[in-house]
Symmetry: C2
């Protein structure tokens, strides 16, 4: 199920760097000893690019903490549509269905690049919640902010035009996973027009047209599965709907 990374990768597997992990917001306020007890029960896994971390409807056997890479969480509808729920960045949790009383995963999670994650068996959750209150409280904060995000998304879909939504999506992506380059801020994983369309409720054609237009205005530079935001500020103007339609 979990394919291996290409050989030559230099990421930690057996010997996890606890000091790095301890800095993550999920573990905020947790004593070192407790942290060890929590992390000690996880196994470390690798997921190759384009492989699933977990799948919709599948029994939720584990929950995960992404250490390295990027994961796309997608919901598939019965009639064949795909809607991207969110992208997971390093340090974020995923597959926390069990904390919400679900027994199956509500979405598919696909590695956008080769990934490393910690995995805990879901059955440990009740014990964790009881023994490490700050851990569970941190996790519920995550859930809370995802609920907020989802509502914000509903509001965007209800009140904004496609152009604004796509602009917002790019801004979110560079905020979450942007890497400065000399050209501008690069979205640090392969992302296609189709992917952006699935995030914003539109079509790859419309996204392509928008990116082309923005490219002409030197707002972004983009290529195959690659988007660089050159002028975040002007993009924000569009996102907020204060753009001067010239």
């Amino acid at each position: 199920m979990f394919a291996l990374l290409k050989p030559g990768e230099k990421r930690p597997l057996a010997s996890l760097d606890r000091s790095l992990i301890a800095g993550l917001s999920v573990f905020e306020g947790i004593a070192a000893a407790d942290l060890d007890r929590i992390v000690g029960q996880a196994r470390s896994i690798r997921i190759a690019k384009d492989q699933p971390v977990f799948e919709q409807e599948q029994e939720a056997h584990s929950f995960f903490l992404l250490l390295d890479g990027h994961v796309r969480v997608v919901k598939s509808t019965p009639d064949g549509h795909e809607v991207t729920v969110r992208y997971i960045s390093p340090g974020e949790l995923m597959g926390i269905a069990s904390a919400l009383g679900l027994t199956t995963y509500p979405a598919n999670a696909i590695a956008a690049v080769d990934c490393v994650a910690l995995a805990w068996p879901s059955r440990l959750w009740p014990a964790f919640a009881a023994s490490f209150p700050s851990f569970s409280s941190n996790i519920y904060k995550t859930v809370g902010s995802r609920l907020q995000d989802a509502h914000a998304r509903v509001i965007e879909m209800s009140t904004e035009q496609v152009e604004q939504r796509v602009a917002h999506a790019l801004l979110k992506l560079i905020k979450q996973s942007g890497r400065k380059t000399e050209e501008g801020i690069l979205i640090d994983f392969p992302i296609s027009r189709q992917d952006v369309a699935e995030m914003t409720g539109t079509t790859l054609h419309t996204v392509s047209r928008l990116l082309s237009a923005w490219e002409d205005q030197e707002l972004v530079k983009s290529g195959r599965q690659r988007i660089v935001v050159v002028e975040p500020h002007r993009l924000l103007v569009i996102a907020e709907g204060r753009a001067t339609k010239s």
Copy 2:
């Protein structure tokens, strides 16, 4: 802040009917003694029609359990749009910001009719979570299902046409708050075209046109702030997009 009901209302205030409350899913699996300890710390409040239960951005001083009535939860955007997040029915929680680590309410809650609710001070939450694990677990189940709902909503907005979304909204409403009458299933509180528009991300004009068309087909009967679904099954056909556009 909390206006009174009209005189002559016969609802319980001081003497709460515990046996009724005990049946609610929020309290599932909780010992009678614990239930008493939880409910004992709540105060019972009344909210008059059109009055706020709590308001967006306000400090989240309390969380609530609706006992009677219907509450509309609405988010306002900076640019004046209003998006209805959900309707709360009797037995449901609202204002549970504190359980998610928020200090302010993320939305406005307005009584759609005169309401009765229990209110707990938010500061009790950590103690409740620690002392009554099934209570907190039930609450997080609620949160989980709301997260699911929100995602479902995003998917609807991304993949369905307005007609389907409005049909879905009516079906959800009759499921949640439908009352059988000889005409059909009545949505049991005043709801305007505008309200439906705010639930579905469209305009009152479009909702009005749709309801008129459905009225002609004898699918629904509607009037001023009043909607009766006559043929839920045919409405479901529309909602699923299997309608024969005649």
